[in-house]
Symmetry: C2
Subunit: 327 residues, 2 copies
């Protein structure tokens, strides 16, 4: 991985998302200054960073020297102003409250250098609402990761009304340089892209169980030993493409009526009432008896392994074609 | 893998699904008799079986001896009666026409032994509609795979009104013995479980593009470098479980309102008109320039690799707990 074009970044807010961002930036070689108004939170985040690096070393993912280098790139700042001073990119992962974010962005905007990009990890807010009254609204943007970003690379990128096209472009490029996968949105919708796709699937997952078609285990088995195996490699369009000899166009033409029929049959009036939620909890606990930290460590380890599989054996085609043409 | 409890099976219908089933049964050690009313189709399926075994040998997946043993387990039958004679399990993968299936099931039912299970690969039909008038309706069942079943293990299992509980149970067990993952359904719904979950996600995937929120690439990136990485390991309930310290119950309680809000915002009036389908085709082709056979071979190779990752490093917990208790 080449060194990223932005060398110095600030991480503001050090909850589960913020601390994971620290690893993303330090891994890529950036100098990271970290700030959180809560000193207990920031101490916890730094302990987690060290423990995570130690675990990575133990699993053989990185050498001692590399772990130390990453650790040495991270410094806790005593104030927000100190954290953002000289930073080319600021990743904010504060509480999901519009009032708090507005106040925080006023502070960041007045302390940060004029060229710095200010990005929010918000999963729900529109940057127009957060930053519209700021002098630096043009350099504010949403960069919403999937939890945890140091494991799962997709990051949703969305500017507000005032965000400059150049800032969007540079954020997309920076994410690529970090090894993340930018998912560029053109306009705000509730839930963005990722949580809408997830919510659409979960609505049906919940309805299948609540209406008695099958149990929690059947739903999860059908994904992890079925659809999910393909979706780890190709999105829904890629999968559709491989399911008809004429590709996506033939697929959606041939199965148009089948999709319209299933769509008409899906229940859209699904409610997560207390009784249902309790039942889903009981069935899931029975399916997954391992303690949660074991489940999470396993998930992260295997997500990493799947990413390496894909990196080592990428889907080629365009390059080969180009080579053939060049001969 | 222990030898399956049913030693002799028949594959009736040898299209893309039927030929893949041949590999599932032969791999598990079953004697497989194959029939298709169309001799060109059956010849094509047998050529594909040999080519697939050759590719598997070349990739180092199996030794020459094993490839030959699998090939030797498969025999083409001259008639339907010959194919099902002595078979303990019959997998039917004929055309998706109720009229054709009814006629085929009359023939199978009168030729097959009284103990044989007759399973259909149908993705849409209710076994009650196919088999209700048969003497052997009690042994007829749906076993719908995800394409291709020799690569992707999930198989939806659903009896008709007359299907015996014992037949459902034995089919579920047999699928496990074959190395497949049975997804047990309790009642018929259009699209079953897998295609409903897929259709729910695809409806949103199509709406995001058609409404201009993002392009095809952004949707696919958000799945294959995001949600899909987790879904290859855990279904939606498992993922929800790991996303809150209190598990699924806390997760759906905490995010209940967020889900209800996103669900209310999802467009359910999505139509795959010609113009949209053409556009999705163009964007997908631009995203995936590799030829379709290359895409499919890559997908199948990497799905296999992900399955091996999971088999080599399974999520433990219950066993460890049991061991600790035993000490």
């Amino acid at each position: 991985m080449a060194k990223p074009s932005i060398k110095s970044v600030a991480v503001v807010g050090t909850g589960v998302i913020g601390r994971s961002w620290i690893q993303v930036f330090a891994r890529a070689g950036c100098a990271v200054r970290v700030f959180d108004a809560d000193p207990i939170q920031v101490a916890g985040a730094m302990s987690w960073v060290e423990a995570d690096l130690k675990a990575l070393r133990k699993e053989g993912g990185i050498k001692k020297k590399e772990a130390r280098a990453r650790r040495d790139r991270v410094r806790v700042a005593a104030s927000l102003a100190e954290a953002v001073d000289g930073a080319g990119y600021i990743q904010e992962s504060g509480p999901e409250s519009l009032e708090i974010k507005r106040s925080l962005y006023r502070e960041i905007d007045s302390a940060a250098g004029p060229e710095a990009i200010v990005a929010s990890s918000t999963s729900a807010m529109d940057m127009t609402d957060i930053a519209s009254e700021l002098k630096g609204a043009h350099r504010c943007i949403v960069a919403h990761p999937i939890n945890p970003p140091h494991v799962v690379p997709a990051v949703e990128i969305l500017g507000g009304a005032a965000t400059q096209a150049q800032v969007v472009h540079r954020t997309v490029e920076f994410m690529r340089e970090l090894g993340q996968t930018p998912v560029l949105m053109r306009r705000f919708v509730p839930g963005f892209v990722v949580n809408r796709l997830q919510a659409a699937l979960i609505r049906e997952a919940v309805d299948l169980v609540s209406s008695g078609v099958c149990d929690v285990r059947a739903v999860d088995d059908s994904i992890r030993d079925g659809l999910g195996l393909r979706w780890a490699l190709m999105g829904p369009y890629g999968v559709a493409n491989t399911n008809a000899d004429g590709g996506v166009q033939e697929y959606f033409t041939r199965f148009r009526q089948a999709y319209h029929d299933i769509w008409a049959a899906l229940n859209t009036d699904v409610r997560l009432d207390d009784e249902l939620v309790a039942r889903l909890g009981v069935e899931t606990d029975a399916m997954l008896p391992a303690p949660l930290p074991v489940q999470r460590a396993w998930r992260d380890r295997l997500v990493g392994a799947i990413r390496r599989l894909k990196a080592d054996d990428p889907l080629r085609g365009s390059k080969k074609k180009a080579k053939r043409r060049a001969r």
